[in-house]
Symmetry: C2
Subunit: 236 residues, 2 copies
DNA sequence: GTCTATAACTTGATAGAC
DNA sequence: GTCTATCAAGTTATAGAC
């Protein structure tokens, strides 16, 4: 039998992805999971901790996969010339595979991540503490593949690429269902052929020569992959 | 003196952009605008209508600018060969100018749009009814500039491009403040030089040759620019 | 048009029985 | 570990005085 704790995690993951964090009440999660409200508080203490638990459950496994895929590729390169396409693939492959995963609710998680990424003030520090180092590791590989690109330009392009990928990944449940229905390009499942259409788009952008232009003040926070602080009138 | 109605719109626009729609209460808007709760209901009937009013106030002017920029460019082309870069510029120029606008709170609106785009279920029909036709118009121009690209591929790339741009535009207040502080590439203000770094990235992606691959079932809803429906267990 | 007052309800969280 | 019962606070929305 499935544990109560896991049922809560699954239900919350789904509802947060579908409706957003703030718009989802603990009571709707309770109804979806078929448990009592108090059970949520017993297992997770607070709503925010619940979100943290959801993220922790899936973040590290995916990141391990990303890093090992990158290391495998780097080890396979003999002449030291890294290709942008393969670096992007090492990052996106685990992501898209998860987005199409028929067994686990991984596709729900990917949709949730796509959402939270746009609600950056909501993204707990966990995501940045866990994903940040991985992003820096990939940025380093991209920098070696594109030695003529100044760091500020590299990070701007990385940001653009993440936004582009997130836009499609917000549709993870759709990707999932198409894959389930056998859509795809003959030999490849749908999610994989979708990924192989996205990578050339991003790679071409990364490989555009950099036309002079000043180094801008845009750099500092971007090189950290920190959430953007909105310099508005008041905070919270 | 500034009208109460406008003060409410300004305050709500700012807070929705900063904290998200669901997380912002009418009372916090009331406090920010310095008006009474009842005044909000008097002028806007409901919270959702308030969001609609915010969107309507700025959506149409920006779209008019986008369309006229595109028409001006098309009229200036004599050999009938449209360039992707210029089409993208016609769309992005009004957007980025608004994102940096020192006078109005346009940059707040752009940040809000970037957020809502990720909370697609929240985006009222208004956005799709007003922005949809404009997007189709630009997709048509892109299709003429890239005649070898199948529509499904064109729309996928358009979606990637919008996600990439939105990712950067979510930082609109930051772009705004940098421009205010005189950052930029010598002759150009910061926001304009930023836009000119983004367009080549996107354009290169659009111009990548399309390698075979099957036409996928991904097409139908994407060609409509409809919000993605999440095929989860229950709805609302 | 703007206010006070309040209705009617939902929220996250907890205490205590079992 | 899971329940019932309940809390205090916050939510949108409205009725009616000015």
């Amino acid at each position: 039998m499935i544990e109560t704790r896991d049922r809560i995690l699954d239900a919350a993951e789904r509802l947060f992805a579908e409706r957003g964090y703030a718009a989802t009440s603990l009571r709707s999660i309770m109804a979806e999971a078929g448990v009592n409200v108090a059970a949520i508080h017993y297992h997770f203490h607070s709503k925010e901790s619940l979100l943290e638990a959801i993220l922790l459950r899936r973040l590290d496994p995916a990141n391990r996969e990303r890093l090992s895929a990158l290391e495998d590729y780097e080890a396979s390169v003999v002449d030291g010339r890294l290709e942008v396409d393969r670096i992007l693939e090492a990052f996106l492959y685990p992501t898209f595979r998860m987005a199409a995963d028929p067994a686990s609710g991984g596709y729900t998680f990917i949709a949730l991540l796509g959402r939270l990424q746009a609600e950056s003030d909501l993204l707990p520090n966990i995501v940045f503490s866990r994903l940040g180092p991985v992003l820096l590791r990939f940025a380093d590989a991209l920098g070696r593949a594109l030695p003529d690109l100044p760091p500020s330009e590299l990070f701007l392009r990385a940001r653009l690429a993440m936004g582009a990928a997130a836009q499609v990944l917000r549709d993870a449940p759709h990707i999932h269902s198409l894959t389930q229905n056998g859509a795809g390009n003959g030999s490849l499942p749908h999610w994989e052929s979708l990924m192989e259409r996205i990578i050339p788009f991003l790679s071409a952008g990364f490989r555009v020569p950099h036309h002079g232009g000043a180094e801008l003040g845009f750099l500092p926070e971007i090189t950290q992959f920190q959430p953007a602080a909105l310099p508005l009138q008041e905070n919270r």
